[in-house]
Symmetry: C2
Subunit: 347 residues, 2 copies
């Protein structure tokens, strides 16, 4: 393997296994923080990729968990802490940071602690980071840390960790089982589809739209960002049917659409694929069906993962692989995107 | 005036005045729905532009109002109503629709009514639409209806209506006063800045990034969509400092950044503007200061509107005007974007 990011994308399955075991060990502490301490609300805090995953987690806890859950970017809280005092009071705050060193997250926590009483449950991929000592409970997943600037393995593991947190919180056994299957199957999924992803990358598109609903909203937005960061092409995210309400006007033959077809319905979603293809864009779809009933140009059947939220793991792997192969094809070094730092340290 | 959209953008101030008076009349009904009926949570429902404004409203009610508030796209609810039954139970659902005819919103309501008990408070710009009879309280603002396909006056008025709903809900007098000033000042703002917007449109950028924090998240995303819809250029939205965490890598001399500089801090935000300009992009900024302390290429001082949430009115007007002038310059007919319908009717 030539690139660090390649090694990280293709070894995410092993990291996932360790993450799953680690979270089992900490299940007691997680349960105490999320349930027994009775937080009135949850505030997920992140920057960039981790902010996107924070937004997805807020959706999951809010819509499926019935709790008040909000995602905030570290920067907005740091700049104007006084505006968030009411929200943070009595909350469980969940800072998410690959490095545990992102200034905006650390400053947000520090400034909010002067203004409100809240508890914290952090997740980071670095052992012994600045987040340690600043959180009541800190989950450290150093085996998932990405050395390359663009996050890949990190976000896959962070997403799995957030789903696991939700299963502990909600006792949702269906999601737990699906998450277990997704973790187990990730290695075979990646090796089984790398050739397809390389082929898709070789087609002549130069921008990407990612479509998915509900709980996938955060990880799918991260999938779109992967194209911007890894291969310097534009990526955007929308909810599946909502794409027709405006943004579809700029879809054309230079666009690749990557879409998660919800397992709950066929005809409206099939029509959506047809409408996109009519404009000239190519569609790569994931679905629960064995056959490509969707009329997509490329099709990836998701097998044995019943819960849609757990599709995030195979979904993000596809985005990462396609973005990686596209970068190679375009002659970009995906380990060194121009002007991007692995984490932002404010002066 | 040559174009319908032009007439609609430039008459939004008169519509806003009527909207403000109308909402005062309905304040009793709004208060009953939002406070006295004691909804456990709020669910904002929309498609496209109105989904974006739904997301901003959910942020406002959640972060500043301390209530559980969620935004959903009509399409995701319609496709999988069973997944949302728990959320809708006991909620106040707020369908937002320019036409009151958007299939996804109507079908979402219909399917959810079979699965949960909830009350509804709708907002539409059409009198006597299909939403009437399907909502417990329906606010109809026909003077704000846009005949042109792309929404401009509609979203400005919808945004003002949502802020007004929040002031009734929260009793937030500071926001009420700021909203009043923004409504009063919109006409002078538009006529005073149309020349600047025309000049900005003539500069050689071909894509736009819109940056703003907090309560502006929905209306700023709509501002970005205006570029896609009105002048067929790509528009994207990010929170201000979060832009540095990835997406900035594709900023260059072809990009225009439109940013709302929060009135709570100067140095980090100033550095953000400098970092963007260093990459070659042009920055048009709004700020509370009389002088352009930000080092932006174009600067618009917001005068006399203390509450940041109310900045949404001048902010969206700038985006709409720049997008309109850009469309004219590019020879696009902004009343007839290729392949976009005024509202989506599913077969």
């Amino acid at each position: 393997m030539m690139f660090t990011i390649e090694q990280e994308i293709f070894s995410q399955d092993r990291a996932l296994g360790r993450t799953a075991r680690y979270l089992q060990e900490y299940a007691g502490g997680i349960r105490a923080a999320l349930r027994e301490d009775r937080p009135e609300k949850l505030v997920f805090l992140g920057c960039g990729s981790s902010y996107m995953l924070a937004a997805g987690a807020a959706h999951l806890f809010s819509v499926r968990g019935g709790t008040q859950a909000v995602a905030l970017a570290g920067g907005e809280v740091m700049l104007a802490p006084g505006r968030y005092a009411g929200l943070f009071e009595g909350a469980l705050v969940l800072p998410l940071s690959r490095s545990g060193e992102t200034s905006e997250v650390l400053l947000a926590l520090e400034r909010m602690k002067q203004r409100a009483r809240f508890r914290t449950l952090g997740i980071t991929m670095k052992a012994d980071s600045s987040l340690r000592g600043r959180t009541d409970l800190l989950l450290e997943l150093p085996w998932a840390f990405d050395e390359s600037v663009c996050q890949t393995r990190t976000v896959t593991n962070l997403y799995a960790a957030l789903l696991e947190l939700f299963t502990v919180y909600s006792g949702d056994e269906s999601l737990r089982e699906s998450l277990g299957r997704a973790v187990e199957g990730q290695g075979a999924w990646i090796s089984g589809h790398s050739g397809d992803c390389r082929r898709i990358a070789s087609v002549g598109w130069d921008n990407v739209t990612v479509l998915a609903d509900g709980e996938l909203c955060g990880i799918a937005k991260e999938g779109a960002l992967a194209f911007t960061e890894v291969c310097m092409l534009r990526g955007e995210y929308f909810r599946l049917l909502d794409y027709r309400h405006g943004p579809i006007v700029v879809a054309d033959g230079k666009k690749l659409v990557i879409a998660a077809m919800g397992p709950w319905e066929e005809s409206y979603q099939k029509q959506m694929v047809a409408d996109i293809r009519k404009r000239g864009a190519a569609v790569a779809a994931l679905g629960a069906q064995e056959e490509n009933i969707w009329g997509a140009d490329f099709y990836f059947p998701v097998r044995g993962i019943a819960d849609y939220a757990a599709w995030g793991l195979p979904f993000i792997a596809l985005c990462q692989m396609i973005a990686f192969y596209k970068a190679v094809e375009r002659g970009h070094n995906p380990d060194m995107p121009d002007g991007l730092d692995p984490y932002i340290s404010l002066d």
